[in-house]
């Protein structure tokens, strides 16, 4: 298993770069570009929620940490922050009309990942994303 950790400030630019860094690493490992895009998008959505909600109202941006655990048949990504805990999505998260201008982030994560769940321990909030990787997704 490969484990890699990326850290940055909870700003839109910095967190977008974290997601790009993970995607670049996965491309280097020859993971299929479509799946890499899905993972990059899910991390971007998770990090945007940290920026917009976990640290909203704070005087300065807090920290975000993205850790990936990569096996050839699955990937797990942990997005951590030390801001306001998110209790997890309710069913309303997945109810929106086409005209709604926000609120689709967690829904997108749910569509892209096999499993996702939220945890808070000792003031550290974690969103864990899991995705199975079929053998044919590796371009070796």
């Amino acid at each position: 298993m490969i484990e890699k950790t990326y850290q940055g400030q909870a700003t839109p630019g910095s967190t977008r770069n974290l997601a790009k860094s993970v995607a670049q690493f996965l491309r280097q490992q020859s993971l299929n570009p479509d799946i890499t895009y899905d993972i990059e998008l899910a991390i971007t959505e998770a990090c945007s929620n940290v920026v917009l909600h976990a640290y909203s109202g704070c005087e300065s941006p807090g920290e975000v940490e993205v850790t990936l655990f990569l096996d050839w048949d699955k990937i797990e990504i942990k997005i951590c922050d030390w801001g306001r805990p998110f209790p997890g999505p309710t069913e309303e998260v997945f109810e929106f009309s086409p005209e709604d201008e926000s609120g689709r982030g967690v829904y997108i994560i749910s569509q892209l990942m096999d499993r996702y769940y939220f945890e808070t321990t000792s003031k550290k909030n974690k969103l864990i994303l899991e995705k199975k990787l079929e053998e044919n997704l590796w371009n070796h």
């Binding site: 839109p12 895009y37 990059e40 959505e45 005209e99 982030g105």
Partner: protein, 113 residues
């Protein structure tokens, strides 16, 4: 943020933008586009997404915002040639059929002629 390129053809404004549409750029884009959104002489706004390589939920919100705004003024909003990445994100949230889409420059020509 990547630069915006704005073309005017009659009463159609065409915004060509080649960067990502994410939380990182949305506020700047809204400011940059303010003049074109409030342009009374423009009845139709076209956003060229052929070179947009990444779209997230904030970018979707931005496109929905443009669509809502134009619709509320009885004006039209089109997406031009959305890239495969844009199509993928829009289809994830079931919005691919919500927007009016111009498949190619020929369809844009028909709109402006």
């Amino acid at each position: 943020m990547e630069p915006l390129n704005v073309e005017k053809k009659g009463n159609v404004s065409i915004i060509r933008y080649s960067g990502e549409l994410t939380l990182e750029v949305i506020e700047s884009l809204k400011k940059e586009m303010q003049d074109h959104l409030s342009d009374e002489g423009t009845s139709t706004l076209v956003m060229d997404l052929s070179q947009t390589v990444f779209l997230d939920s904030s970018g979707i919100g931005f496109l929905v915002h443009l669509n809502n705004r134009k619709k509320s003024h009885n004006k039209e909003f089109y997406l031009l040639q959305p890239s495969p990445q844009v199509r993928k994100t829009l289809s994830l949230v079931k919005l691919l059929d919500f927007f009016h889409i111009l498949k190619n420059e020929e369809e844009l020509e028909n709109l402006t002629s």
